[in-house]
């Protein structure tokens, strides 16, 4: 998914981060003793839209929703790679699949209460899954369409019952899911905040700025998107699983909006804020990396920065042109634009290092092999000459942010050197992601980012490059390149089917798909980014989880 921005109807997306937490560059702060109580102040440039956990599709609020709400199962809330471990949350245990992987029965924990004092029941679980469809949630058609009855719910959301798909047994305290076909990623999907369990009587419409009660460690006291989101302890919360929803340290979290990223850095430096959501601007990186090194945490993300090229529009409908772009770009220069080698690693392929199915591969370098070393401009010019497309006009659509714009200007320079007449259009980050997806906008090339939703190769290769992910004329067509290759598609289907029974075997096929897509070059991958968290001196116990990034509830302040 996209790092930020308000995705109303995105297809599959969602951010995350690979954790090297604890490791990496996360220096321990001076005081390691736990401190309960106090008020923690977080800052961000802006709010991220609706507070409805089943609708909001931004990293900014995913991070918050993970401590406000619970799902049946979840990712373990600890730092490091252990954070990818699936643990039971509102369910007593992670169930074994039945019926060849098409049925799962969850036993719901007893005694858990929502922040309004109401006890969580089987009815709430069933109603929450119905609500995903009733409100036409952004992932209802992608993550949850495999549930029996989902087709009918997608057609007529208002009358959704998921009959035969999500079956509650109040006497037994169980909820049983029936799938139309086995899904190796089912647990990952129901661990997303869109599957948060909310009270059964929650209105089936976007909650907007009205808080919905949750079962997490915190509850929302107030929300004004122009000013502040205030979280206080959930008075009815009692820790039932430290792995799933650990008790929080601070009593109150004030999340203020409206500062520029420069002001955010200054606020953290001065101790007026404890953490900033946005990445520090490039001109402050050297300063914070030198004077405030002990307040900086750097962690690798399971993500990529890349340039989708429209495979259905000239000149990029010629694979040689797309390959030429891949050969010509200096990935080291792009890493420098992002903040230097500490914050990114050049790469040519789709799957990030360390991700399931990843095998080092880079054909687009001076000495083709496993890793990128240097651009090959001569090879690129040969390919462009062979394609006969030199002189054509190319437009690059970028986000109006410092890094995206700088990358766009750099690409413009590269494409001009290859003989194209290139222009750069910078548009608001709020609309750029949807704009570049819609084929009606005739976008030839763009600059974008993709962050994992969950640790599965399909989250990159199936979602970004399958024929099914291409929806001409739609704002929700994350296959931005419009890439559709029958052979690649067949391999994707094969890998997804095999993953149900043989994950290792499936990963081998994913590695092949990764290489195939890289060779056909519907995109030019630039680098794997790292994430910078800049925190105040008084903030302790910073834990970076690969799924949730910083675990907000586990930070304490002195």
């Amino acid at each position: 998914m996209k790092q930020s921005g308000w995705l109303r109807r995105g297809a599959a997306v969602a951010v995350l981060a690979m954790a090297t937490a604890g490791a990496g560059l996360s220096p321990a702060l001076a005081d390691d003793a736990p401190h309960k109580g106090g008020v923690m102040r977080l800052v961000a440039r802006s709010a991220a839209g609706t507070i409805d956990p089943q609708i909001n599709y931004t990293l900014q609020y995913f991070q918050i929703n993970y401590v406000l709400y619970d799902t049946l199962v979840t990712f373990k809330k600890v730092g490091g790679t252990d954070g990818f471990t699936m643990v039971p949350d509102l369910a007593e245990s992670v169930p074994q699949p039945e019926d060849g992987g098409k049925t799962y029965t969850f036993k719901i924990r007893k005694g858990i209460k929502f922040s309004n004092g109401q006890e969580l029941t089987v009815k709430d679980v069933v109603a929450s899954y119905q609500r995903i469809f009733k409100i036409s949630g952004p992932t209802s058609g992608t993550f949850y369409n495999g549930i029996v009855g989902a087709d009918a719910c997608l057609k007529t959301p208002a009358t959704c019952t998921l009959a035969g798909g999500v079956v509650g047994d109040e006497a037994a305290g169980t909820v049983t899911f029936h799938l139309t076909q086995p899904d190796a990623e089912f647990f990952y999907k129901i661990a997303m905040p869109h599957a948060a369990i909310v009270p059964a009587d929650t209105p089936a419409k976007d909650a907007g700025t009205t808080p919905i009660p949750g079962t997490g460690a915190y509850s929302i006291a107030s929300y004004d998107p122009n000013k502040q989101l205030k979280l206080v302890r959930n008075p009815y919360f009692k820790e039932w699983s430290k792995d799933a929803q650990p008790e929080a340290y601070v009593d109150e979290i004030d999340y203020d909006f409206g500062l520029t990223d420069e002001a955010e850095v200054t606020a953290v430096q001065n101790g007026q804020a404890d953490w900033m959501f946005d990445q520090p601007p490039s001109d402050r990186l050297a300063e914070i990396g030198t004077k405030y090194a002990d307040q900086v945490h750097i962690n690798t993300l399971m993500a990529m920065w890349y340039a989708p090229m429209n495979t259905n529009m000239a000149p990029f409908n010629d694979a040689r042109v797309r390959q030429a772009v891949n050969y010509a770009i200096d990935r080291k220069a792009l890493v420098d634009l992002f903040g230097g080698p500490v914050l990114g690693s050049p790469t040519c392929q789709i799957l990030p290092p360390g991700f399931p199915g990843h095998e080092d591969y880079c054909p687009y370098t001076k000495n083709p092999g496993a890793k990128w070393t240097a651009p090959d401009l001569e090879k690129a010019k040969e390919l462009v000459k062979a394609s006969g497309t030199a002189g054509q006009k190319v437009s690059i659509v970028v986000e109006d942010t410092t890094v995206s714009r700088a990358i766009g200007v750099y690409l413009q320079s590269v494409l001009n050197s290859l003989g194209y007449d290139t222009s750069v259009k910078a548009i608001s980050p709020n609309i750029q992601f949807t704009y570049i997806q819609n084929t009606n906008n005739k976008v030839q090339m763009s600059v974008s980012q993709w962050y994992q939703d969950y640790p599965a190769a399909s989250d990159f290769l199936n979602i970004l490059f399958s024929c099914a992910a291409f929806h001409p004329g739609s704002d929700a067509s994350v296959n931005i390149s419009g890439f559709c290759d029958k052979d690649v598609d067949a391999k994707i289907q094969k890998a997804m089917a095999l993953a149900v029974t043989d994950q290792a075997g499936a990963n081998k096929i994913w590695a092949e798909v990764d290489k195939d897509v890289t060779d056909k070059a519907p995109v030019a991958v630039f680098f794997t980014p790292k994430h910078v968290d800049f925190v105040s001196k008084r903030l302790g116990n910073f834990q970076f989880n690969p799924q949730f990034q910083w675990i907000v509830s586990q930070g304490w302040v002195k």
């Binding site: 490039s282 030198t290 222009s423």
Partner: protein
């Protein structure tokens, strides 16, 4: 009985003056007065210097700095006094985060004012950017003044329904805050360009900011011109011409327009200054000049992200704007004084 210089004694001073110096026209008189205005002449000198430097942009970039200010040079290096340094210097202290573009070398052979975050020579870009800023400001001023003069003269002279319609149109345009109107038009047109009938402007063209800026200021010039024409229309010489049956077009061309032109000329430096500021604002907001073209506004925007590390990238084009606009305003004052008949006594008596 009338008297000429022939009727005066030959040693009479006035007669000598009249014989030796034929009466100067209003333009020459104005120029003479302007030449005596030291501040205005200094401002004109500054403007000519700025113009000359900007016109030398290509020569400077190619033959002095040996750089292409429109090509990214992120991984490049630069040698000065036998020392080779990367154009973008990576941080080597602390966590090693970020990089800092090379600072001013104060050497005209390269990176005189340092590099921007694409590794491009800032000094060369400022010269190229100045060319675009001056071109846009000058051309949009021309468009604005031509349109405003036509509308103001026609409305004022024709009166009646024509005046009412044109005046209301100006009112409508005037009702919008200038910058809001310019920004709105730019946002709408910047992505798709402008294509109506024979007029076709592509999205990245400099003509877009030129036309937008030229049009939004029309009411500010057209209104005073209309007022001037209304005043002239009731003056004795125009009434006399009408009384003698001189055709309206001839009156307009021979009597009204020459008198209005002095006011139009006073507007020239003022409007260039205003348009330059507007262009800079639009370009700063990414809705004016588009990359790879540069203007002083776009360079300020580039520098905005480097304020902490290389403030000169934003300050240098800002200073260029300040100097140019200040010079234009001082020159504008001088031109107004020179063309103002009421200032004759003051200057003459000085």
């Amino acid at each position: 009985m009338s008297m000429t210089s022939e009727d005066l004694p030959s040693d009479f001073p006035a007669a000598v003056a009249l014989k030796r110096r034929p009466a100067a026209g209003p333009w020459i008189t104005a120029w003479r007065k302007l030449r005596r205005d030291r501040a205005a002449m200094a401002a004109l000198g500054v403007l000519l210097l700025v113009l000359l430097l900007c016109l030398l942009a290509t020569a400077y970039a190619r033959h002095v700095a040996h750089t292409d200010p429109f090509v990214s040079n992120i991984s490049g290096s630069f040698t000065l006094d036998g020392v080779t340094r990367p154009v973008l210097e990576p941080s080597t202290t602390g966590l090693g985060l970020g990089f800092t573009p090379i600072g001013p070398t104060w050497n005209i052979n390269g990176y005189f004012l340092g590099a921007d975050n694409q590794g491009r020579d800032v000094a060369a870009r400022i010269l190229y950017g100045g060319r675009n800023s001056l071109l846009i400001a000058g051309t949009s001023t021309l468009i604005c003044l031509v349109l405003a003069t036509v509308i103001g003269v026609v409305a004022g002279f024709m009166g009646g329904l024509v005046d009412a319609v044109l005046s209301r149109l100006l009112d409508v345009l005037w009702a919008f805050p200038i910058y809001l109107l310019a920004i709105s038009l730019s946002i709408v047109l910047i992505s798709k360009g402008f294509d109506i009938g024979p007029i076709s402007i592509t999205s990245g063209s400099l003509w877009l900011p030129i036309f937008i800026i030229g049009i939004v200021y029309v009411p500010y010039v057209a209104r005073p011109i209309r007022g001037e024409v209304l005043s002239l229309k009731s003056s004795e010489f125009v009434l006399a011409a009408i009384g003698l049956g001189v055709p309206s077009l001839r009156i307009l061309w021979k009597d009204v327009l020459p008198n209005v032109m002095t006011r139009v000329i006073v507007f020239v430096p003022i409007m260039i200054a205003l348009n330059m500021l507007t262009e800079s604002a639009l370009s700063f907001l990414s809705i004016g000049v588009q990359a790879p073209d540069a203007s002083w506004g776009t360079i300020i925007q580039d520098g905005q992200t480097m304020l902490y590390t290389r403030p000169i990238v934003a300050l240098a084009p800002g200073l260029a704007i300040v100097i140019t606009v200040l010079a234009l305003n001082v020159l504008g004052d001088g031109v107004r004084d020179a063309l103002d008949p009421k200032s004759k006594l003051r200057i003459g008596g000085a």
